[in-house]
């Protein structure tokens, strides 16, 4: 497993799907470990009842069917797939509605889905997913991107309520790829994935959705910022180490 995770850290992120399926075929015994530890780009299906698209993941899957958050039905239809309790389903519906507005305000497009299920220790787990195609042929408002994909996966474990507070454990992954292409500068592609965790004990007075939403918003801001400033910045630094821009060369010459 360690070696498999080592490979996933080196193979170009745009090939992560191919790398994961190769690892699954080499290590069938570790398939559940691999699937839970390696995030892959999100897929979507269309809900036949509502006509809206929803996102597929391990958390809304049973056998080969996926439950839509809109109609609460499995696609393709499934006899006895698991469902959240009516109370949790109510929160799930609300979360999907509110999160769609949140998504629209930050992403100006894209698809989102929220899934919830009870866990063993009297709490529940929620999974917030966002998929955005920012290419100029899809939801890229500004039309700069030849290709642009952003997949965000937020899984929050919510502990049981104790004296008005609950423990929230958030694990977030962002996978992205962006490509610009033109005559004078060729193709320029940055791709990557990062995963971070955040734990908080919060009063449930304002409701779970408010707490989860704030954590996700803070986390997405941090992830976006570190991708932009740190990760992309480091690759830029590397380019300038390979070939320092001429101003640097000129200013350094008199010293040597």
């Amino acid at each position: 497993m360690e070696a498999a995770m080592g490979l996933m850290r080196r193979i170009p992120p745009k090939h992560s799907e191919a790398a994961l399926s190769a690892l699954l075929s080499l290590l069938p015994d570790h398939s559940s470990d691999l699937l839970s530890q390696v995030d892959q780009p999100l897929q979507v299906l269309c809900d036949v009842d509502s006509g809206k698209e929803f996102i597929l993941c391990e958390y809304n899957r049973d056998a080969d069917s996926y439950r839509s958050p809109w109609s609460n039905k499995y696609h393709p239809a499934l006899e006895d797939g698991p469902y959240p309790s009516p109370e949790l389903r109510k929160l799930e519906i609300e979360a999907n509605d509110v999160f769609a507005i949140y998504r629209d305000q930050y992403y100006e497009g894209g698809i989102s889905s929220v899934y919830m299920w009870e866990d063993e220790n009297e709490g529940f787990v929620a999974c917030f997913l966002i998929k955005k195609d920012g290419s100029k042929t899809a939801h890229g408002r500004r039309g700069y991107l030849q290709e642009g994909a952003w997949d965000a996966i937020h899984v929050i474990e919510v502990g049981p309520e104790e004296e008005g507070t609950a423990r929230y454990c958030l694990t977030s992954t962002v996978m992205l790829s962006l490509t610009t292409k033109d005559e004078s500068s060729g193709t320029f592609n940055l791709s990557g994935s990062i995963r971070r965790q955040m734990n908080m004990d919060l009063s449930v007075a304002e409701g779970h959705l408010c707490n989860m939403g704030k954590m996700i918003e803070e986390m997405e801001g941090k992830l976006r910022n570190s991708l932009d400033q740190v990760y992309f910045g480091k690759t830029k630094e590397m380019v300038c180490t390979l070939r320092p821009p001429s101003e640097l060369v000129q200013t350094r010459l008199p010293d040597s």
Partner: protein, 308 residues
């Protein structure tokens, strides 16, 4: 075979070799040995690993144009398709030697003097030598850790003016700093076609820049660019100067365009994936989502189905 054994792996050795090669060939610059170590541990099958490595390493080394030091440290040889004599032998025209290379270890094990038929004619060598000298000067000015080489890839036996020939300039700069979780490489290939009839040199450049940062994540830059230019055939020394100027011009322009791509990220390109702030320019009102729910209820009530 029991059921348990079947789940271990259902792949044939041939499929495993293909998968192993895929991982090795997709290693970022300077990282193939790390990838090899991991995939070898996963395979637990030396025969499969060795077969795949023997096929993948030469391809990787040539596409990354790795540079190997001679055993006596008197110089270095680049491993490319342009100076390949056979799979393990690479010509270094600068020292007129042939390097014997172990691809999997990525070392030069031995050298021998090049035969006359492996070297270009003295007429071609004049052009090649002059260009090599100018390129070396240029590379040492702009690439802190750059290496370069000039090969004749067509018409190396041409003895006098009147025929076409082709030189290729290879420039490679690589940085490996695994302790900083960062690796990168700059590779350029410049084909120079000397066309006797038109008395021109047609220049085609292919530039490839890659960078990998992997501290608690995996982010990679993959940038590619191609360009064309031309000049007139002149005596070797003048030709070398004008060809080097063409390369300098295009590579400087390209570096500038990379810088521009980076500076465009925060406000334009990245914004098309996710904005820094919502369209409302204030954080999302999570404490006040009841109003959204109410809106939803109203919409539902106005619609055909009742929310109850």
């Amino acid at each position: 075979m029991s059921d348990d054994d079947e789940t271990v792996s259902h792949l044939t050795d041939k499929q495993k070799i293909e998968i192993t090669k895929w991982f090795l060939l997709n290693s970022p610059a300077g990282e193939i040995q790390y990838v090899a170590k991991d995939i070898r541990a996963i395979l637990k099958n030396e025969m499969v690993y060795r077969t795949a490595a023997a096929e993948a390493f030469p391809l990787y080394n040539k596409s990354h144009m790795i540079c190997l030091e001679f055993p006596d440290r008197s110089g270095e040889v680049m491993v490319t398709t342009f100076n390949e004599i056979d799979e393990n032998e690479y010509l270094d025209p600068r020292t007129a030697q042939v390097a014997m290379v172990d691809h999997v270890k990525q070392v030069c094990e031995d050298t021998r003097p090049a035969n006359d038929e492996e070297l270009p004619s003295s007429y071609i060598e004049e052009y090649r030598f002059a260009l090599d000298a100018e390129i070396m000067k240029y590379v040492s000015e702009v690439y802190p850790k750059g290496v370069c080489s000039v090969y004749c890839v067509n018409g190396k036996d041409v003895e006098e003016p009147g025929s076409d020939f082709e030189l290729v300039v290879i420039i490679c700069a690589a940085r490996h700093s695994p302790q900083n979780f960062c690796n990168g490489s700059w590779r350029s290939i410049w084909n120079m076609e000397f066309k006797d009839e038109l008395q021109t040199v047609e220049v085609r450049g292919k530039l490839k820049v890659g960078a990998h940062y992997f501290e608690e994540g995996n982010v990679q830059l993959d940038a590619n660019h191609e360009c064309k230019d031309s000049t007139i055939i002149q005596p070797p020394d003048d030709c070398a100067v004008s060809l080097t100027n063409i390369i300098r011009h295009h590579e400087t322009e390209y570096l500038n365009s990379l810088q521009t791509s980076y500076s465009n990220l925060p406000d334009t390109t990245f914004k098309d994936l996710r904005r820094k702030l919502p369209v409302t320019r204030t954080l999302f009102p999570w404490h006040n989502t009841m109003q959204f729910s109410l809106t939803r209820d109203i919409q539902k009530n106005l619609g055909l189905e009742n929310s109850k």
